[in-house]
């Protein structure tokens, strides 16, 4: 049997009605192992204007490099208080935020390890289908050997790597168009 996947449609301007109940910006309760990271960023359009009606979702492994999902059978610890999912709805400044832990490395193509990363899914009015991208961590040596970053033209890789900013937070922005347009994936 072969069916065709249903057509994607925009999330529209009223996404808050359906999605706000499960806003999860603090992803790692006390007691979850790993290096704490705070990620702050903005979504901006072609004119540099804030996108105030986007949903940004994170999916990540725990600090041991294991996903809380039955298909991840790696011999690494699971933590019952860490699901690995976050959702932030942008505010009037286009800003979103996540407080989480830095994930460990997980297997990539051909068994090579990937560098620590967060997968990022973005929905908004004006997108008929969602965007898929990733956040990597600054100054992580593993970035140099990450098999997915290696697929990205060198001059655009920086758009996938968060920057350390004042107060110990990490900054990562989703730039939809223009200079420094974020790399989005064909998934």
């Amino acid at each position: 049997m072969s069916l065709r996947a249903s057509t994607s449609q925009t999330i529209g301007p009223y996404l808050r009605i359906g999605l706000e109940w499960m806003q999860i910006e603090d992803m790692a309760p006390k007691g979850v192992a790993g290096e704490r990271v705070s990620i702050r960023g903005r979504v901006t359009d072609a004119d540099g204007k804030p996108v105030n009606d986007a949903a940004v979702e994170i999916w990540q492994a725990n600090s041991h490099g294991r996903y809380a999902h039955p298909e991840d059978k790696q011999d690494k610890p699971l933590e019952k208080d860490f699901r690995g999912y976050g959702r932030s709805l942008t505010d009037d400044k286009g800003a979103f935020r996540f407080n989480t832990i830095k994930p460990g490395r997980v297997a990539g193509p051909g068994g090579k390890l990937q560098a620590p990363h967060l997968t990022v899914t973005i929905f908004m009015r004006g997108l008929l289908k969602h965007l898929q991208t990733r956040i990597y961590f600054p100054d992580d040596r593993a970035n140099a050997e990450d098999p997915v970053l290696a697929l990205v033209p060198a001059e655009r890789r920086a758009t996938l790597i968060a920057r350390s900013s004042a107060g110990g937070t990490l900054e990562w922005n989703a730039v939809l168009q223009g200079q420094n347009e974020t790399v989005f994936f064909d998934f």
Partner: protein, 235 residues
């Protein structure tokens, strides 16, 4: 061994990012080439939600307030399958919609139609072991929007589905059969394949109507399927 990847979408069944007839895409669609993403463990896994995520009342949008909402009661049900025809069980579905007058309970919606104090317009539920879901609501109204002169959205319900893997995540809209606005709607018309578009239209579902209470609509949803693994090809 690398996980079996999800099949890439059939070419004319999924929209492009840039679709100028839907004006908001012009300043928001990526302009640089997309980078083809391999499906690693990060892409074939996804958040898992349990029955504690939803309350029984979350699937009846007509019973979330003191009194009944205005409008025509409907039952919507269907199955979630993957492209291989396998049911997708135990996934979270979120829905939201306008009220019977075509007005959303949202500060940005300034359409001059009445709000309904007895209708929020949001629900959520999990698919069962067979991939089935069901909810009660009221039929949403059509409403004008500012995409072009005299633009009206056909009646629709928004659906957000978490699949079993990140590559199955889907946000879509369900439409109603016989809606004369469909062919004028750039969102509905966003893909070239007429059959794909028509799969977004629910079917009138006589069997599930509730006599003297509510009409029923059926809306089946298909999420992406995995490529067969080499092992399976060999049989």
């Amino acid at each position: 061994m690398d996980p079996a990847p999800y099949r890439r979408p059939y070419w004319n069944t999924q929209p492009d990012y840039l679709f100028p007839k839907y004006a908001s895409t012009v300043r928001r669609a990526p302009t640089q080439p997309l980078v083809v993403l391999p499906h690693t463990l990060s892409e074939v896994t996804a958040p898992v939600f349990g029955y504690d995520a939803v309350k029984p009342g979350d699937s009846d949008l007509t019973k979330q307030h003191k009194d009944e909402p205005q409008g025509e009661r409907i039952v919507v049900s269907g199955r979630v399958l993957d492209e291989n025809g396998k049911p997708v069980p135990n996934i979270l579905i979120e829905i939201w919609q306008a009220n019977a007058a075509g007005r959303y309970n949202h500060r940005v919606d300034q359409h001059d139609a009445p709000l309904d104090p007895n209708f929020t317009g949001a629900g959520r539920f999990l698919t069962d072991h067979h991939g089935r879901y069901r909810f009660m609501s009221i039929r949403p109204g059509e409403y004008p929007w500012r995409n072009h002169y005299n633009a009206w959205r056909p009646a629709h319900i928004h659906f957000s589905l978490f699949g079993q893997g990140l590559m199955q995540r889907l946000v879509t809209q369900m439409y109603f059969p016989g809606d004369p606005l469909l062919e004028y709607d750039p969102m509905f018309m966003c893909v070239a394949d007429e059959k794909a578009r028509n799969r977004l239209i629910s079917l009138f579902d006589w069997e599930n109507t509730i006599p003297e209470w509510a009409l029923a609509y059926r809306f089946d949803i298909v999420l992406r399927g995995r490529e067969e693994t080499p092992m399976e090809n060999r049989r």
